[in-house]
Every structure is written in structure tokens, then in C-alpha cells.
Amino acid sequence: MTRVIEIFLAFIRIGALAFGGAYAAMPLIEQEIVDRTGWMTFTEFSDLIAIDELTPGPIIINSATFIGMKLGGIPGAIAATLGSILPACIVSIILFNLYKKYKTIPLISEMMNCLKSMSVAMILSTVLKIFLTAVFGNEIALANINIFALVMIVVAFITIKKTDVNPVIVMLGCGALSMVLSLAGIL
């Protein structure tokens, strides 16, 4: 039971700070679930991002259910999911009523911009970590460099940026290609 409450509180903290789109929640989950509590390994965490992309629905709810279920079964999943959206619901209800009263709130848009700047930096930090793990593995050294992964990241990025191909297809393609090449003994 204490586990379930801990999960609930952890996801309230994550939900309350996830400004600037759902992906801003990922670095928060990393800090709370991987670094602070050690409930999950970094590998499980980056698997989670991939799984999130393959399933419909908001990413923060997907991750909450996934982590809650892994840590505390179905009660954990319910606690995590409700915790992750509780701050969002409370703030939304308050903002709705403020908006009905005042219509425009310049201070809120200013806060949004500052918090978005923070989100840029936080997502950058997570991308960097995933990039280094994918390209160098556990130890960053020139000898460990995985040229194939590096090329794949660049090609995947250009594909997402320049074409209309769904990112999910790009990710599945990366997975299939690297599995086939490894099994064929090329990698």
C-alpha cells in the first residue's frame, strides 16, 4: 500500500511539472523514476519511449500506466495514471474559471514561454543521453563508436524532418533493419 501511495505522489510531481507538451514529461520521469527512486533502469526507460510511440493516447498516461503496472500491478497503474493527470485537471479547472472572468491573462503566457524554455533544455538533456547510449554503449570512447547507429539516427532524423512519413514507421524501420542486419551477421 505504501508503494502505491509513493507511486501516486511521484506521478503527481511529474504531472505538475510537465509544461510544454507531453514530451516534457519524459525527462521528469527519468529524474523521478530512474535517478531519484531507482524504480526503473535507463534501458527500461528508453524502451518505454519507444513503446509509448507505438500505442495511442497521451504519452504521459501511457508511461504512467506502464510504470505503475510494472511497480505495483493494477493498483499501481491506477494510482500512477490518476496521479499524472490530477494536477492537469486542477489547473485546467482553475484556468477555465479565470478565463471566464478575465478573458486574457498576459502573465500566464509569459510563464508559459519561460517554462517552455526549460522544457527545451530538459528534452535536449534526454536526447543527448539516448544518443550517447545508442552510439557509444555504456562507455564513451572513440573505440566504442557504433557507426551504424550514428548513420541510422541521421537518416531517421532527415526522414522525419523532410518527409511526411509517420515517425512510428521510421522507428519500426530502424528496429527491423538493425535486427535483420545483426541476425545476418553484418553488424
Partner: protein, 186 residues
Amino acid sequence: MLKKMWIIFINCFTISMTANSGYAMFGVMKNRFAGKYGWVTEEEMEDYLALAQSSPGPVAVNSAVQVGQHVAGLPGAFSAVMGIILPPFLIMLLVTYFYTFVSTNPYVRLFIDGMQAGVCAMLLDIMLGLFKTVAKRNHIVYYLLIVISFLYVRLTKYSIFYLAVFCVIVAIIKAMVSRQEVKRHD
């Protein structure tokens, strides 16, 4: 009232099952609640999107709260949120159940590890998109905040909560300064 709540719930449920991004879901919500049912105007929907973006958490949940509340008060907000969170919740329960079995399988492992390249590329794209919206306001304060936040996240182990508080304080100061500047110009 109950009928309205049911319509809100079932629409949000189907929207959440089919769309992946919060903005896509918002688009369909606008189509249903403003277009099909005419319960809210398109202009009000735009404002609700702005509010949804200004709240923490997923845009889909936030805009569901706004629209639900507009149509049927707090019960409306409740049914909208339930509709949005139930499909991903149920699907993820199943996925997690299978993940624990297959994640150690060597073939599955090779596949998931390979997918990381795509994950990295996608997050990079999302980060650049967010950066663009910040850069549109083109103010030195935002760029400084990005640098400070990055150093904070990489170099310290303190909670991101303090960083968020710092950002809010900066926002308040900046809003006060720009208001005074406007007064001076008058």
C-alpha cells in the same frame, strides 16, 4: 445532463483511441463539439487550446477539461477526462503485461535496441519544434533560460521543481518590466 455526459464521454473515448498526439485529438474534438454538436464556437475552442497549452500535463486532457466544463460543468469535465484516459490506460495494461515477457527475448531486444535510433531522431525533431516556438518571441531571457536549465539538469541532482519555480519568478519579473516599458511609451 446524463445524455450530454454520455455523448462527451463516448466522443472523447473514440478520439483518444484513434489519435496519438494531443493536437490531433484537439482537432477532432473541435470537429465534433464545435462542428457536429455546435455546443461551443470555434473561437472559444482556440482559446481553450491556448489555456490547455498553458497548463501542465497532456494537452489532450487539458483541452478535454476545458471543453467538458464548457458543455456540462464539472460532470462534463469528468466524463471528458475519463473518455480520454481510459483507452490508453487499458491498452497499456495489456502492453506492459506482454513487455515483461518479451523484453528479454534476444530477437525482441535487437528490435527494441534498433528502434532507439528512431526514438532519438524523433525527440530531436520535437525539441527543435519547441525551440522554434520559443525563438519566435526572440528574447535574450528565453535563450538564457535554456542554457541555465540545461546546465542545471546535466550538472546537478536537485529536483526540477526548483528550476520551475525559478522560471516562474523570471516570468513574473519579465511581465512586470514589460508592463512598465509599455507605460513609459504611453
